[in-house]
Point group: C2
Chain length 209, copies 2
DNA sequence: CACAATCTTGACTCCTCAGTCAAGTGTCTC
DNA sequence: GAGACACTTGACTGAGGAGTCAAGATTGTG
């Protein structure tokens, strides 16, 4: 952090980050000791503390990097799309895609969400994601593409579906990616009902109360 | 577990369970030591190990009891309701109700889901819940009340929405219970679209195919 | 080469915490 | 009240892990 790194130093640092992320994901954060990590790298313990001031700092960095990476992908995915509802769909697809490709990082998010030390980071990341989504949701509501509802709530509901379906279907049941993507989008758009509904973008007339 | 408990013993045991559950929820499982617990109860350490063989066993018991309690409430809530879609709705309401009333246990579920030692229990519990829901979902599909889709997926999607909205809206944003309940149900039924749909529990008329 | 900065070593310290145990107290039962 | 069983005590053990540090190796630079 504080000192300048040579090329060799950069490499070592990345080596530590990558290995740790994987071990944290497979064995768990608590079950992975610094000693484990440096042993696997066949280096002395001081090496770790040359690059990171603590295990916690390392983990925070892993999380933050992952969050930024995911967000970057989401934004790249929707770039240039005009239809707000379509942007949402593309965002969902991009997210699932990223999660599928970085399963170990998904595991880390999952762990972090349940740990007091890190849950605030996850919350912050989710908030950012929902704020991003909120913009498109508002537009879509204004355009009458989707029902009137608090866009923040909608955003979080979508997030909940993505997280849970990803975990259960992809990680635990080993379902194929595409199917999960389609099911997720179908549920987010239509919920349980509404195969019977009028086709997609009808103007919203009279809400019930 | 193994020995018979006197009334005094039962009381002590419950005392330990209750206090631990609360401390695990507020300070975190790892941050709560057995020493903490017995100190707060002003008893010797041996007391703990008279009633429980390990910290892990205690936590498992807390989880299991909570899961059973939640399920009991869900089943009581839908008992006697004929309409399958309505049963689902009642089940969702009951779940949210229970989660709101036992926030500390919800926190424990959340932690447990992200920890390798306990996540299998959570998965199992979720599976049971989804299997319960699946029965009603299948019926509802057969009756043409909801769209055709894999009921397991639908069940998990609902679970994801419940969990996430509960956490974010109730625990983090402090939204009133009723609003969250309504929003959750609305999202599960209609997704983003379909304010235009026929009102909630109409008898299933003509399915599309 | 010199000498400075980066990087590495690994034994060591410090601490926390789960779990044990031998000895003691309280309570129930006959 | 005597013996049995339930409960309690709290110092102790042992394991394990985070983080330190003084000394040494390697690399970059003038």
């Amino acid at each position: 952090m504080r000192q300048r790194l040579t090329k060799r130093g950069e490499q070592r640092r990345r080596q530590i980050v990558d290995l740790s992320a994987r071990r944290f994901a497979t064995q768990g954060y608590h079950a992975t000791s610094i000693t484990d990590i440096v042993n696997e790298l066949k280096v002395g313990k001081g090496v770790f503390y040359w690059y990171f001031s603590s295990k916690e700092e390392l983990f925070r960095e892993i999380l933050l990097t992952a969050q930024h990476d995911l967000r970057r992908l989401q934004q790249a995915a929707i770039e240039g799309e005009d239809d707000p509802l379509r942007r949402i769909e593309l965002g969902i697809r991009a997210s699932l895609d990223w999660l599928g490709k970085h399963r170990h990082l998904f595991m880390l998010f999952h762990f972090a969400a349940g740990d007091e030390r890190f849950s605030s980071m996850i919350r912050k990341g989710e908030q950012v994601a929902v704020e991003d989504a909120t913009r498109h949701l508002k537009e879509a509501i204004a355009a009458g593409q989707i029902r009137e509802a608090d866009p923040t709530v909608l955003g979080h509901a979508i997030l909940g579906v993505i997280n849970h379906l990803t975990r259960v279907l992809i990680f635990e049941l080993g379902e194929p990616m595409d199917r999960v993507v389609d099911e997720t989008i179908a549920f987010c758009l239509f919920g349980l009902k509404a195969s019977t509904c009028p086709s997609p973008a009808s103007k919203g007339p009279d809400p019930s109360d």
